[in-house]
Every structure is written in C-alpha cells, then in structure tokens.
Amino acid sequence: MFAEFGYGILVVTFLVALYSIIAAIYGATNKSASLVESARRAMLLTFPLITIAAISLIYLLVNDHYEVSFVYEVTSRSMPTYLKITAWWGGQAGSLLFWSFLLSAFASAVTLRKWDRDIEFLPWVIVVCSVTLMFFLGLVIFYENPFTRFWAVGGNVEPHMFAPLNATLFTADDGRGLNPLLRHPGMIIHPPMLYLGFVSFVIPYAFAMAALITGRTDDRWIRLTRRWSLWAWLFLSFGLVLGGRWAYDVLGWGGYWGWDPVEIAAFMPWLTGTAFLHSVMIQEKRGLLKHWNMILVILTYALVIFGTFLTRSGVLSSVHAFANSPIGPLFMAFVATTFIVSIALLIWRWPELRSETEMKSMLSREALFLLNNLLFMSILVVCFWGVIFPLISELFTGQKVTVGPPFYERATAPLFSALLFLMAVAPLSAWGHSTVQTLGRSMWKSAVAAAAITITLFFTYTKTPGALLGFFLIAFILLVTFQEFWRGARARQKVQGENFFTALSRLMGRNRRRYGGYIIHISMALMAIGILGMESFQTSTQGALKQGEELNISGYTVKYRELASWDDKGKGVNFTRATMDIYRNGIYLGVLNPRIDYYYDSQQNMTIPGNRSTFRDDLYILLVDWQPATNMGATFKIFVNPLVNWLWIGSLVFLLGIIFAAWPDRDPAEEPARSQVSRNAGHTSAAD
C-alpha cells in the first residue's frame, strides 16, 4: 500500500515539476505574471509532495517491510529505529530521493522570498531548480526506485514495482542490514551534510543562469545568493570534516583522508566554491572578473552533480562505492548538457560582462585574490587529473595506470603552502594599489615574530625543513590576523571612546563578512597545524603482547592488562575489548579500550580504536588480533599522531567563522554601494 502510494506521489511530483518548467518559460517569454505565479506555486507544491513520499519510505523502513527491496537492502530487524530512519540515505535509491527532497526544500525556500524588483529572475530560477529536480526524480522513478518490491514468479524472486502476471508478493524474513561501518554517528550526519552543501550550490547557479538569460548581468545575482553560497560552503566543509572524523574513528588505518576518488569528488566542488566565495568579492568591490565568477559557479554546479554521480554510481572502486548501476551514463549526459547550455549562455552574454575597471597593481587586493583563485583552480586541476588519469592512460596507451595518495600529496603541497602564504599577505593589501613598501610596513612585525617562533621550534621540536616552513606560514597567518583584529579594535576604541572589547565586538558585528573571513583564516591555520603534524611526524609500532607485556612509542608506554569478549544478543554484535594501561614518561595516565565488534548479520568486523587525544598528540591503539584459547595474547598496532587534535579544533572554529559571516545583519538593505567604495578605494587601504 505505502509502496504504491509513495511511488504514485513521486510520479505526481515529477509532473508538477514539469508543469512548473513549462509555465515558467511560457510566463517569462509572454510576460504573464499570473503564469509565473502559477509556476511558483507548482514549485512550492513539490516540497510537501516529496515529503509525503519520503514519509512513506520511512514508514516502510521503520516497520520492517522486507517485501520492499530497498528496505531489505539497508535495514534489518536488529537495527534501532533511528538507524532505520537514517537508512533512508544508506543506499543509492534512497539517497537520490533524499537529494530531491533537499532540493525541493531549498527551491521552495528561495521562491518564498520577497522578489520585488528581482521578479524577472524568478521564472528562470524556477526553471533551473525544476530541471535539476526533474532529473533526480526521473532517476528515482525510472531507474533507482526505492519502492520496488519482491515478487515470487514461478519459483524465482524478482524485484518489480508492479505485480507481474501470476506473481505473489514475496516478503523476506529479515533484511541485510546497514553496513556496520556506516552505523557510526559521523556517518549518519556526513552524507546529509555533504548533500546539503551540494544542493545549496544549486541556488547560486540558478540565479547566475537567470542573470545570463535576463541580461541583468550586474552583481545583483551575487548579492542575492551570497548567503546561500556561504551556507552551502558551511555544509560542504562540515560534511568533509565529518567524513574525515569518521575515517579516523572507524576505518582504523590511523588517518582521516586517503585521497580516495570519492573524497576527491566531494572536495572538487569545495575548491571551486571556495574560489567563488573569494572572487565574488572582487566583482562586488571592483566590478572585475565577471566572466570568471560565472565560470566558477557553472563549474561548481557541474562538479556537484558529478560528485553525486561519483559517490553513488560505483564507477570508481573505493571504500565508498555501492553497486554498479545503470544511472552513470545518464549523469554524464545531464552534466554535459547543463554544462554546454550554461557555457553557451555565458558566451552569448560575454560582451555585457566586461570588467568595469582594470587591474593595475600586481600586489593589489584584487590581484592577490585572483592569485588565490588560480591556486584553488590549480589544486582542482591536480585532483581532476588524478581522478581521470587512469581513463586517459588506458585510452592512449592501453595500459591502465593509476596515481595514489603520494601523487596528490606531492603535487598539492606547494600549492597549499602558497595559499597559506597568501592568507597571511592578502588581508594586508589594499584594493586598487599596493606596493612592496606598504605591504612590508604592515607585516614585518608579524614576519619577525613568526620567524622567532620557527627558530624556537627548530631547537625544541623539529629539524625537518618542510615542517618548519609550514609552522612559519601558520604562525605568520595567525599573527597577521590577530594583528588585524587588534588594529581595528584599537582604532575604533580611540575614535568612539569604547573599551577594547566593546570596540572589538562592534567592529566585528559591523563587518561580518570581513571578520568572519578572518576567523575562517585562523581556523585554516589551526587545521594546517593538525595536517602538518600528521603528515610530518606520525609514528607507529606494532607487536603481539602477552598479558602484562608492554610496547613503547614516543615516550608512551602501553601495557596490556586483559581481554574480554561478550555477545550483545539484542544488537547482534560480539564485542572483544582489550584493556590497556597507558603511561607517559612513567606517569600513569589511565586506560584505553581498543575493540573489535563483530556483526553477526553482516558477518563483518569493525575495528574501533582506543584513542587518547591531547593538544600535543593522539595515542591511537588498534586491536588487531587475539588468541582466545591460550594466554590471552593479543596483537596491537599503535599510532602516535602529533597535533592532529588541532584539525578538529580548527574545524570547530571554522564553523563559528562561517556562521558568524553568514548570520543575517540587522538591516541587510544597508549594503554599501560598490561605486562609492571603489571611488574611495585608493585611500581606504586595508580598512575597507
């Protein structure tokens, strides 16, 4: 019942989306406000409709309807209810429905805004959102249907949506259950976060296309979607970090990022999105790079769809890949079509998007922003090359050749270092014009202090040149950024006669984007500390221990006390847990419990590390194997991951920074007009 109902609703939604496209195009071309309004209502209708379909699916998931193949694939009787609900996005068909659900939610939210003088954008925003929505709904309805049921036909069981001739409904006794690796809290939130990020980038793209079609090629579309881009970026970044945290906690290889093609697929739209967030500021302030911003937003959209495709189609072998499926070519066709149409629109409007001024100085803020964009694009090219290289080499040489993590590390390290350097220098440069002298004057104190810190580290911490360079850049960014906070607050304190903290908070409140950006720069520096620590100083050891024996690593002593093994019948899991006493330089620190969980239903182990985190380093212990019969001997692998905690601390600061920047101003209408700013730009230096 619920299966047919849910499926029927999806078909209706598909038709409603189709209607909204036709009505919007017809309304826009014939200047019929009532038709556009009708398209808008149709767009708004898709959200409740998809919600109902989703509720039907959740009902089936929660109530063990194992006659539905999707329910059979992703749940089992032993799973708790919250996991049955989140199993919605645990498989391909469900996650495509989830994507559609989010898209209709965002599209509805954006069509509900007050349009006033931007009403000409509305029909085209509806068209872009509905076309995307229709594509995903089409995949769900025709290819990856979560409501397909099992039918017994002449001794065979086959999945079909509707009953074949002479068939009876077949209900499996129990489902296969969600892969235990995916039952971690990080993995429950990670896909929705990534998807939120992916989907919210559709909105800026829709406005960009609307701007191209209507010919309103000023920066209005950018101003309208600035917050959308920020939120999209927030979700995407948070999704990436959660994925890393999940890998660190669950995959048991002692790392958080493996340059897996699927990770890269999610990272690529992040790169173009980050470049976009930076370069739109140049268009707003200086009227430059209009073509470039269009290209970035088109690329981001294409990469978002491509990323969804890579994570869901299984074209690349990776830990994330699900089954092979027929939707790959459709995704490629959709990406190619939208990309070509977008580029064609851009070429059509090319002459109208000319820059209003010229870039004059190599050290001006806009030139450094441009350099920042080029670096992000370079990292994108490296990533893209790495992903498609196997295909290219097979095409040209017949030999399939791949590149692993060393390729990415080697090729991106100089680019990331250059970005760190820019992060320190660019905030000090002025719009329009800067010279080596003006820049040098404002940064020499920070540079000297950072050098002093680096020298101290040389004598106390490390002698590795690469790591020292990294620490210098990180210290430089932090000092320059704090100095900016200090300088701004002091200046305001003098003028307004406020105390320092009032001055600081008011200053930040009045310039949310600027100071939010600085907080994000600080967080990037903190995260870089963690990455640098992990890349440069990770150490590991391993060994088979008898009870009471110990292993030593980087000042830690890990002593094996005992092993316990028990069944949790309710969950269908066997736990084997070791108890380890931890000492550092002879001082007792407590106990760690690495364990292995064995899931009976999926016959799979899950290795959960025992981890002790400090600001200095993480002690990360894996239980590898044990001999139950004999003297309770067991084998352990131990990592010491220096500074890695700063990565997670940095990501929290990062969240704060974006939320601060994206928080609605009290009166958003009072944005300074660009003409005014650019007229003064020569004198305002960095204080803008």
């Binding site: 193949s69 490296v382 060393p406 899950m606």
Partner: protein, 160 residues
C-alpha cells in the same frame, strides 16, 4: 606594461602546475595489472609499482599475529568492469575464479593489521611490488565483498 606582467605571472603559475602534475604523476604512477598479466610479464614486472586485483582464496589465508604477516593467494579475475558485468556480476566472477583450479594464482604477503573484510571470494585490490621470488608484496590492501552488499534478491529465493 601591466598586462604583460600579469600575463607572465599567469604563465609562470601554469608552468609550475604542469611541472608539478607531470613530475608527481611520473613519481607515483601505479600500473593496474591482473594476475595473468603479471604472470605473462614475468621478470620484467619485478620492482614496478603495481596495482593488482584478484579473488581471495579463503583456504590460503594465514595470519601470523606475532609479526603481523598476512599471507594469502589470489586467483585471476578480469580487470575490466564491463567484462565482469557481462559475465554475470562481480559476485559470480569471484566465485568462479576461486573454484577454478586452472586459473593462474599468485601469493600475496602483506604486513599489518588483518583487514576486517578479508575472506574467501572477496576481491582484493593490492598496491605494491612483485618480488623476484614471484610473491607480491603489498603495501596497501583494499577489499570488496560483493556477496553481502550487492545481492539484490533475498537468500531464501536462491534455494528454490
């Protein structure tokens, strides 16, 4: 001229990126090979960075927990996904590979924790080098177990 300066700067960055990509590709390229291809190439495959895939033979898995040394054999499977699909899917292909004694096999040695997914009829994707002794020394071991996660129809059906 400002324009030439910007142009030169851009060209410089482009050159640097192209250099980074090509030198890094060269330094870290891994050749995809199947068991048959490795056997056919013989001594000339020794020492190259390879990415080898094969079907794990369950009976041959040995783990020495004292030294964390994992040894097992893999049987040849096709490296081409389309070919695998045409032959009836990964699960079927792996099953046939394991039960076919005429298939070429290769012994793999890997030092490290025993992966959770390692079992008979799993697809192993290994990165490493072929030793002069004909044993494949893997640095990295990825496993795919299609039997559990790609089976579209419930078990109860296959018996009838």
């Amino acid at each position: 001229m400002q324009r030439t300066k910007f142009f030169l700067g851009g060209a410089l960055i482009l050159a640097a990126v192209v250099y980074l990509i090509f030198s890094s590709t060269k330094a870290s390229a891994e050749y995809f090979m199947t068991v048959d291809e490795v056997k056919a190439e013989g001594a000339s495959a020794v020492g190259k960075s390879l990415r080898l895939s094969g079907a794990v033979l369950g009976d041959t898995i040995q783990y020495d927990a004292d030294t964390l040394t994992l040894t097992f054999e893999v049987a040849h499977v096709s490296g081409d996904n389309n070919e695998i699909e045409a032959e009836g899917g990964l699960a079927k292909v792996l099953n046939e590979a394991v039960n076919d004694p005429t298939r070429q096999r290769i012994t793999v040695v890997y030092v490290g924790p025993k992966p959770d997914l390692l079992r008979g009829e799993a697809q192993a994707i290994m990165t490493g080098k072929l030793g002069a002794d004909g044993i494949f020394y893997a640095d990295e071991l990825l496993l795919k177990c299609p039997t559990k996660y790609e089976q579209a129809v419930p078990d109860q059906a296959s018996g009838s």
